[in-house]
Amino acid sequence: MAADPDAAYREAMSWTKTARDWRPTALALAGLAAGAVTGAVLGGLVLGWLAAIWSLIDGPTGAWELAWFYVVVVLAGPVLLLWATHGLGALQRERFRAVLGNEIAAPPRVAVGRGPLPRPVRAWRAPATWRQLGYHLLAMTGGVAGGLLVAACWAAPLLAVASLAGVWGDGPGVAVGLGLVALSAAVALVAPWVARAVARADEAAGRALLGPGRSEELALRVEALARSRAEVVAATDAERRRIERDLHDGAQRRLVSLAMQLGMARASLADAPEPVRQVIEQAHDEATEALAELRQLVRGLHPAVLDDRGLDAALSGIAANAPLPVRLRVDAPTRCSPAIEAVAYFVVSEALTNVAKHADAGRAEVTVERRDDRLRVVVADDGRGGATLDGGGTGLRGLAQRAAAVDGTLTVDSPPGGPTAITVELPCES
C-alpha cells in the first residue's frame, strides 16, 4: 500500500499524458470484449433466475421434476450470481493489470464461518459485492459503448474508403466522397484522445468500484498493522530469550567457575598470610555476589521455565527473590499464548521491582487469574501510594505500553498514603 494514495494515483494515471500510446485503445477494446462477456454471463443468469421465479409463480407446467428444477435454480441463482460478480471483478482487475500494469487490490474476502449468517448472505451484504456489480453494469453499457466508439474512430478511414469503393452499393459523389475521407481522417486523428478519455473514465470507475472501499481499506490496514505489531512483540520476546541463553551459556558459567576456583582457594589457603587471605576472601565474596546479581537480572528477562512450565511455575522465582515478602496466588488452569505469558511475567517482574524501589511497602501480593479468555494480573502493596502512570521514573508507563502492545490494559489505583494496586488485563490469545 502506497504511503500517499494521491501520488500513487497520479503515478498510475501518468500514461494519460503520453502521446502515441496504444494502451488506452487496448484497454477500451478489451473493455468492449469484457463488457460483452459480462453482459452475456450476468444477463443469462438474471434472466434464467427471473424465468424460474416466474415459472414457480405462474405454476409449473409439464413434469413435476421441472418444479424442483425451478426451485433449485431460484435458490442457486444468487450464489451463482455472487460467484459471477466476483469472478468477473477479478477478470476486470486482471484487464487493468495486464494492459496498464495498474494493480487494483481485490476487496477483502468474506471469511468462512464468522458470524451467524451463512457466507453467501453475508457476501451479499458486503458493500464490495454491490460495488463490483455496479461496475459490471457500467461495463455492460458504458464500457461496451466506449469500446465501440474507440473502434469506430480508428476504423473511420477504412469505412470511408470502403464506402468510396462502393462496397455498399453505389459510391457517393466525388465531392461528398472527398468530404467523407477528410472527415474520417479527422476522426481517426482524434481517436487517441477519444481512447484516452474512455480509458480514463474506465480506470476511474474501476478504482472506485473494483477495489476495497475506504472502510475495507482501513480494515485491511488495521489487519496489517496488527500483524506487524504482533511480529514486533514476538521479536522482542525472541530477543529476551536469546539474551537469557547467551548469559546462561556465557557470563554466568564463567562466573560460577570463577567463584568456584576462588572458593577452593579460600578453603585451601587457611594458613596463608592475613593480607593474601583477605584479598581472596573479598574476591570470593564479590564473585558470589556478582553471580547472584546477574542471576536476579537474567531471571527478570525470560526464564526457560516460562516456556517450559508456564506462568504459574515461573512467577514463584521472582516472587521469592523480591526484597520484600510477597504472596503469590495463581489461578490459571490453562495456559495462555507464549506472548501473553511473557507480557504477564514481565509486568509482575517490573511491578515488584517498582514496589521495592518506590513504594516503601512492607509486603506485596501478586494475584493472577484467568477468566474465560482474559488474564488478569494484580500486583498490590501496602506502601505509601501516590503512584501514577505519568509519574517520572516509575516505569509504569513502559508497563502500560507493553500491555497495550498485546491489546491489554493497565490501570493504577494508588491513592496518596496507599495501598497501591496495579491491574493488568490481557487477552489470552494474541
Partner: protein, 213 residues
C-alpha cells in the same frame, strides 16, 4: 565415595571434577548430556550423581528428567541436581519421585566449598538438600495460614529444616545453642500441628509436605 558428573560446560565439568576430587570423592565419570549420564550410572553404579539441568540437545530440563529416571531405576544412587536457576516446580517433580537421597541446589553453592561438600555428603548418605531459594519459592505460595503464627526466628528454622538440615546444621547456621534449636523445632511442630519426630529425614518430609512440595 564414587561420583558421576553430568555437566555440558567443559569449564565447569573440569572445575567440579577437581573440587570433588579435592573433597575426597572419586569421580568415576564426567559426561556432557543426559543419555551419557544414564549409561554412566548403569555402568559405574556410583554412590551419587551430580547432574546439571540444562544439557543438550534441547537445553531445557534434560537434567531433571534424567534425575527422575535415575531415581526410579537406581534406588541406590543418590542424585544431586545443580542449576543456574532453581525452580520450585522442578523440585516438586523430583520430590514426588523420591524424598531421600536427593538434592537440588543452585550452582552458585559450589563456590562455598565446605557447605557444598556437606550437602553432597548428606544427599549421598540418604538425606535431602534443597536450595534456600527453592524453599523461598515454596513459601510465597502460602496464603494466610498457620505460618503467620511463627516468629521470624521460627520461620528461619523452618526454612533450614526444609533445606534438609539436621539440628546440628541449624545450630551452626544460626549460631545458637542446641537446646534453643530444639525448642524452636518443637514450637514449629506445635504451631503447624505436625506430628513431632526426632528422625531428621521424616522431619524434612513433614515440613515439605506442609509447604506443598
Amino acid at each position: 565415595m564414587r561420583v558421576v558428573i553430568a555437566e555440558d560446560s567443559v569449564l565447569l565439568q573440569a572445575g567440579l571434577t577437581r573440587l570433588l576430587g579435592d573433597g575426597g570423592f572419586e569421580v568415576v565419570a564426567a559426561v556432557g548430556d543426559a543419555e551419557a549420564l544414564l549409561r554412566a550410572v548403569t555402568e559405574h553404579r556410583p554412590d551419587v550423581a551430580v547432574v546439571d539441568v540444562r544439557m543438550p540437545p534441547t537445553h531445557t530440563d534434560e537434567g531433571i528428567r534424567a534425575a527422575l529416571v535415575i531415581a526410579r531405576q537406581h534406588p541406590d544412587v543418590a542424585v544431586l541436581v545443580l542449576s543456574q536457576y532453581v525452580e520450585e516446580r522442578y523440585a516438586t517433580d523430583l520430590l514426588s519421585e523420591r524424598t531421600s537421597a536427593v538434592g537440588y541446589l543452585l550452582k552458585d553453592r559450589v563456590a562455598h566449598v565446605a557447605d557444598f561438600l556437606d550437602a553432597l555428603r548428606r544427599v549421598a548418605a540418604g538425606g535431602t538438600a534443597l536450595d534456600p531459594e527453592v524453599v523461598a519459592q515454596l513459601l510465597v505460595r502460602r496464603r494466610a495460614d498457620p505460618l503467620d503464627r511463627l516468629t521470624p526466628r521460627e520461620l528461619q528454622v523452618l526454612k533450614l529444616m526444609a533445606e534438609g538440615r539436621s539440628n546440628n546444621g541449624i545450630t551452626e547456621a544460626l549460631r545458637v545453642s542446641p537446646s534453643a534449636v530444639e525448642k524452636y523445632v518443637s514450637n514449629i511442630f506445635t504451631k503447624l500441628d505436625l506430628a513431632p519426630t526426632d528422625i531428621d529425614h521424616r522431619r524434612v518430609l513433614a515440613v515439605l509436605k506442609f509447604l506443598g512440595a
